[in-house]
């Protein structure tokens, strides 16, 4: 799992620089979830649904929200029970919690957003195997209180959803020249007005619509993030001159 990747330097930095106020913790969680430790872009978790259902914004949004709900639910539950669960059975317990939430979400989607449920197909039950969820349960929720865990779940879920939607938008625009095609499946009939036809295509660029397009698009999004990080780092490099005190091995 992703323990080693999770909570990287940004978390350290933030907590080192400031007092451990709750506000700072929330800020750190936000930053981690949306950017510096984004489950899709940095941890590269949950790629299977990410790549499979990001054909349109609607599908992406649907799966993203489902994942987010599961994440919040599982994080809160895991955080609440963390003190009662011995470490050797924590993974089965986490999995059970997650599976329960996924099943609940699946049932609700089946009942209330049937069209979307049909469109997303197998990928809703597959949320169970989305490593991002158990990763957060293990790396964060099992060590923090439920409020913070809920925020963490929300932010991670949001980060995941945003990437999913971005990828969905890219593929939808390039592939068929529209946005929010089929939004009514998710949001009800009024949402047909959301559909934007950017340009009419005689021949959809099938590459974007098909799974290879998802891989290529994902590659570009990750590259873009790395590029931005690189630029920011370059900008910051000049003003971070610190000198670390050298430890003396011997008495002098």
């Amino acid at each position: 799992m992703s323990e080693s990747i999770a909570d990287t330097d940004v978390a350290d930095e933030a907590s080192a620089e400031t007092t451990n106020g709750r506000f700072d913790e929330v800020r750190t969680l936000t930053q981690n979830g949306l950017w510096s430790n984004n489950p899709a872009l940095v941890q590269l978790l949950g790629l299977c649904p990410l790549l499979a259902v990001s054909g349109t914004v609607t599908n992406a949004l649907g799966l993203g929200i489902a994942t987010m709900l599961v994440l919040i639910g599982s994080n809160v539950t895991v955080s609440l029970v963390r003190n009662f669960v011995p470490s050797e059975i924590r993974i089965p317990v986490f999995v059970m919690v997650i599976a329960t939430f996924v099943t609940l979400i699946e049932l609700f989607m089946n009942a209330f957003t049937y069209g979307l449920f049909m469109a997303l197909g197998i990928f809703i039950p597959l949320i169970v195997t989305n490593c991002a969820i158990i990763g957060r349960a293990e790396a964060y929720a099992s060590k923090n209180n439920w409020q913070l865990s809920a925020i963490d779940g929300f932010m991670m879920g949001l980060g995941f959803t945003l990437v999913l939607v971005l990828l969905g938008a890219m593929r939808e625009i390039i592939g068929q020249g529209t946005l929010f095609d089929g939004a009514e499946l998710l949001l009800g009939d009024w949402a047909t007005v959301l559909r934007i036809e950017l340009f009419a295509v005689d021949y959809p660029l099938l590459l974007a619509v098909l799974p290879p397009g998802a891989f290529i698009g994902m590659g570009f999004i990750i590259a873009g993030k790395n590029w931005i990080d690189h630029k920011r780092e370059q900008r910051n490099q000049t003003d971070s001159v610190k000198k670390v005190e050298r430890a003396r091995v011997t008495s002098a």
Binding site: S4, P86, E88, K243, V244, A247, V249, S251
Partner: protein, 189 residues
């Protein structure tokens, strides 16, 4: 009816697996993580303390506990890469807050100026300086790790860090660095 059956089945399964896990947890407990040893063996053992820890082993322990791997200037980039390999982390450039990678050096005591204060002897982490009180000290070049910890304590500043002399045998084929101007006028046509 099916509901009850489902609930019972799951509960029984969970119970069984819980027992199994409890058993496994006791039976297959892993004693100690030897990762510190492996890290330590990658560090250059200069014991220079530039990483901020008193010696290589403490730094190895710190790395095992999640400290950055880019704090060892004597090891340089190659050590960072090996550590990155071992730890499954990403290799970063050397953190120059801890110093910069340098050529290999050894300490050299200008013996005329040595007053025999033994301060450097106490500072040397590997006992590579010979001498006694009020006697001239000298560095055993082969044992010196080049940590330069002896330089600062010297009250008379008689210790130099000089570049390690290299012979043709240890030459690293850096063709660009050959001093070509030397003796170039010898050929007369």
């Amino acid at each position: 009816m099916s509901m009850v059956a489902g609930i019972i089945a799951l509960a029984v399964l969970a119970l069984a697996f819980g027992l199994l896990l409890g058993f496994a947890a006791v039976r297959f407990r892993v004693e100690k993580d030897p990762i510190v040893e492996q890290i330590d063996s990658l560090l250059p053992q200069t014991q220079c303390g530039q990483c901020g820890y008193p010696g290589c082993r403490p730094y190895a322990e710190a790395i095992a506990n999640g400290d950055d791997i880019n704090k060892c200037p004597p090891g340089g980039q190659s050590t960072i890469e090996q550590l990155a390999d071992l730890m499954g982390r990403e290799a970063k450039p050397l953190d120059d807050a801890h110093g910069v990678e340098d050529v290999k050096k050894v300490a050299y005591i200008r013996e005329d100026e040595c007053i025999g204060c033994t301060k450097c002897i106490q500072a040397c982490p590997v006992d590579a300086i010979l001498g006694a009180t009020k006697q001239m000290h000298t560095v055993i070049a082969d044992e010196c790790t080049g940590c330069d910890l002896c330089v600062e304590p010297c009250p008379v500043d008689c210790i130099d860090m000089i570049e390690l002399q290299q012979g043709p045998e240890r030459w690293k084929w850096d063709l660009e660095q050959i001093p070509v101007t030397q003796l170039a006028t010898e050929v007369k046509s």
